[in-house]
């Protein structure tokens, strides 16, 4: 009936939007080649169905968004090597006493390696600049009345817990009194045994790995 445009009364009433505002929400970027779509508020990890975020999609039905952090065989090998290294180092440290040169050199080299790794891994991958981080915190503290109650309570409790542990440990360390044992005094009762020293060293290494590599931006800035 309305096979021809000229005879169709609805022609141009439902106009297709211009390409700029067609299925392209703010903050979404498209690249050629492997599909990379970045949006700051996506969060989460590997592959997302495009349609989960954008209803009107130009991509084929079975398309996926592949974020660059997908677990590859190379990263699996790296992870296995990391685990093997943690186990080997911990087993070696378990045999050492706190006074031995090996223990001193081992810990010193691990700390040095952590600092160097943090610098290399973190180059252009730190989520915020220091100035922006400080400014954001100051802004949040100043506007605490407008913050959600849960966030204010959480901040207060975390501050009390962390400041309490660090402060009391510092006080106990300064006084060096048998009536005021430090946290490391209790830990020392575990690390004096080989198994305890090895397990604590492994825990310390794992924490270090997270501190060095965790929570980086996935694409360099």
């Amino acid at each position: 009936m309305w096979g021809r445009r000229e005879s169709n009364p609805h022609w141009r009433r439902f106009k297709r939007p211009a390409s700029a505002d067609w299925a392209t929400p703010p903050g979404t970027r498209f690249f050629c080649g492997p599909v990379i779509i970045s949006r700051g508020d996506m969060g989460g990890r590997p592959a997302y169905r495009y349609a989960a975020f954008v209803r009107t999609s130009r991509l084929p039905n079975r398309s996926f968004i592949h974020r660059p952090s997908g677990r590859t065989s190379r990263s699996a090998v790296g992870f296995a090597l990391l685990v093997a290294g943690v186990i080997a180092l911990s087993a070696w440290q378990a045999q050492l006493s706190r006074d031995s040169a090996g223990a001193h050199w081992g810990v010193a080299l691990v700390v040095l390696g952590a600092v160097v790794s943090a610098i290399i891994l973190g180059r252009r991958r730190q989520s915020r600049t220091t100035a922006a981080w400080i400014a954001g915190n100051i802004r949040a503290v100043r506007s605490w009345r407008s913050q959600p109650v849960g966030a204010v309570i959480s901040t207060l409790v975390w501050t009390v817990v962390i400041a309490g542990v660090v402060g009391w440990d510092l006080v106990s360390f300064i006084y060096q009194s048998p009536a005021l044992p430090t946290l490391s005094y209790f830990i020392g009762h575990v690390t004096r045994y080989r198994v305890g020293r090895g397990l604590f060293f492994a825990l310390w290494l794992v924490v270090g790995v997270f501190l060095v590599s965790g929570w980086r931006t996935e694409t360099p800035r």
Partner: protein, 70 residues
């Protein structure tokens, strides 16, 4: 077997441990409005300054525990 004498400092540590455990239990019960470790850690590692301070504290703690303490 390792035993600890209950001295004033130990009592303070027990109170701190209790507070921390209760707080973690409250967070674990699913109080969604509260900020748990999953939001605390990204904040703490969110800048070079804070990450550097945390790594420095980690290194100092390791040296103290594994090279100075029994």
């Amino acid at each position: 077997m390792t035993t600890f004498a209950i001295v004033p400092g130990t009592v303070v540590w027990l109170v701190l441990a209790g507070v921390a455990l209760v707080w973690l239990a409250v967070l674990g019960l699913g109080a969604g409005a509260l900020l748990g470790p999953r939001r605390l850690l990204p904040w703490l590692l969110g800048s070079w300054l804070s990450r550097g301070l945390v790594i420095a504290a980690w290194g100092a703690a390791g040296w103290h525990v594994f090279c100075q303490r029994p």
